[in-house]
């Protein structure tokens, strides 16, 4: 049997395989260059980038929880101009599409960041972060209401010709109206899910463990929730590819998302545990196709659905 076709299209962009990194968990890729074969990724999704530099939240910023972790980094980044100068020029050596996650405190911020990144020619797609749970002003506020999410996506859509992905928050009663609003506003694909808001308390100190009090829960603990949300959005049949993420530790976990209706997957917290998870998942998806005598992985998207 010839090598299975793992490729997937996100807007106009064709990825050689459906494995991506989840924004914020893989830095700028270069941090992992000694521990993983970054060039084997379908696409590299780098850290959230804002118009101005952000210091991030006060520590502690991470705490372990059962089969997971809470983080409250607070979108620390050097701002879009430094990202363009210092970070993006180093990424072409991986020879894979680079996707920048963009965030802001206002629609104008998002638009400005999208426009600057689009001008550089160093970025192949943008992911709108409308779901960061760790920032007071922006991020998640846009992601909780279909009308404001639609407004944000339309504005960014008008500012860039790059394929546009919208990353959705799971911290809502029903994720489907938000998914629909993003697609109707021109999003080419959807990422789901961002982290679930949580709190952990140090009972001896009688204080929250995180400096920010709340943080975003990730890791295997959230996987069933993420798979369920992919399932729900896939059922709405919105006509755009879905990128599933939430606690994927290996190829079996990735297949859960694909069988639920995801066209692609992103690896997040697992990068901290096993730095070459991305490579193991790519290999494992190919092995799965061979074992099940499937030529195209995309033929399995949603195959668990009735």
């Amino acid at each position: 049997m010839t090598a299975p076709d793992l490729s997937v299209k996100i807007g106009d962009l064709t990825l050689k395989n459906p494995v991506m990194t989840a924004s914020g968990t893989f830095g700028w890729g270069v941090e992992y260059a000694m521990l993983a074969d970054v060039s084997a990724l379908g696409a590299l999704v780098v850290k959230a980038t804002t118009l101005r530099p952000r210091d991030g939240n006060k520590p502690p910023r991470v705490v372990e929880t059962p089969a997971g972790m809470l983080n409250a980094i607070g979108l620390q980044n050097p701002g879009v101009e430094e990202v363009i100068k210092q970070k993006l020029p180093h990424l072409d050596k991986f020879n894979i599409p680079v996707i920048v996650n963009i965030a802001g405190d206002s629609v104008d911020d998002y638009v400005a960041v999208a426009r600057r990144l689009s001008e550089t020619g160093l970025v192949q797609a943008l992911e709108i972060n409308a779901s960061c749970p760790n920032c007071e002003e922006g991020g998640m506020l846009f992601g909780l209401d279909p009308a404001s999410l639609g407004g944000l996506v339309s504005a960014v859509r008008a500012a860039t010709a790059l394929p546009l992905i919208t990353k959705l928050s799971p911290n809502v009663t029903d994720i489907v109206p938000l998914a629909r609003a993003a697609v109707e506003a021109g999003s080419d694909a959807l990422s789901l899910i961002n982290t679930l808001v949580g709190i952990a308390i140090d009972v001896e100190k009688r204080r929250p463990k995180l400096g920010n009090t709340t943080g975003g829960l990730s890791g295997p603990a959230i996987r069933p929730v993420a798979v369920r949300m992919v399932w729900q959005v896939a059922a709405a049949d919105l006509g755009v590819p879905l990128i599933g993420m939430g606690g994927i530790m290996n190829a079996t976990d990735a297949m859960e998302f694909i069988l639920a209706g995801a066209n692609a997957v992103a690896i997040g917290t697992a990068n901290f545990v096993t730095p070459d998870t991305i490579n193991k998942v790519v290999t494992g998806l190919g092995d799965y196709c061979r074992r099940h005598k499937v030529c195209r992985l995309q033929d399995l998207v949603g195959a668990a659905r009735p």
Binding site: G24, T25, F26, G27, W28, E31, Y32, M34, L35, D55, G56, K58, P59, P60, R61, V62, V63, E64, P66, A67, G68, M69, N71, I73, Q76, G219, P220, M249, T269, N271, F272, V273, T274, P275, D276
Partner: protein
Amino acid sequence: MQNIQAEIIRNDPELDDYSVLELHAPHVAENARPGQFVHIRLNRLQDPLLRRPISIMLAEPHSGTIRLLIKKVGRGTELLCAALEGGTIDLLGPLGNSFPLPPEGKDVLLVGGGVGVAPLIFFADVLQKTPGLRSARGLYGGANENQLAVWTELAGRCEEFYVATEDGSAGEQGLVTDLLAEQLQRGDAQAVYTCGPRPMMAKVAAMCAEASMPCYASLEQWMGCGVGACLGCVVPGTEEAYLRVCRDGPVFPAEKLDWDNVI
């Protein structure tokens, strides 16, 4: 830096709440410098999920072994203390920066508290073995004699060595910073290197600033990736808002840290 499977050669439970793990990890043993750490996966399951950063206590390049001092402070370190000889441990390392070597000449002071003594033992070992460098003077503090499990490892590598315990059960009664005050008065040391509880290090940093003495502190923090990517392990700085313990540290010139907010 590599991700390796290291064989557990020995696991010595020193006292109730400490263990010394000896691992066969040639890559780490050959490349590690004092102050660096390894990032250890606790088991092959998904809970506890995250790796634990552990300072390297000693590295022996010719035997390819490293030793780690583990204090039981929670679920993860309890698992490590219970690790079986003959088994393997998945680790990333060596990670982080290291204590800057002093120039030839005057002595250096090593100020350790509790389990924080580990990287200072490695440093003292390198100082002792490096021709041309003077040996260190070690100062060590603990709550009582039971906490002084491995101070002998430091004592044997220092030219002079002093101990203080809060209850007076070993050495002088008092704090390690009392010992430091005496040493600073002697005026013949050129730098201070410290690792231990944060209140202790903050005091050491303040005393050194007062005495215009260069001071280097090794910090620990809850950590995600260990390689500088996730920005989870930061501490507040004086020049930059936040510094990564895993990549910018774990060793920092004391004046680069905002000690009032290092909690």
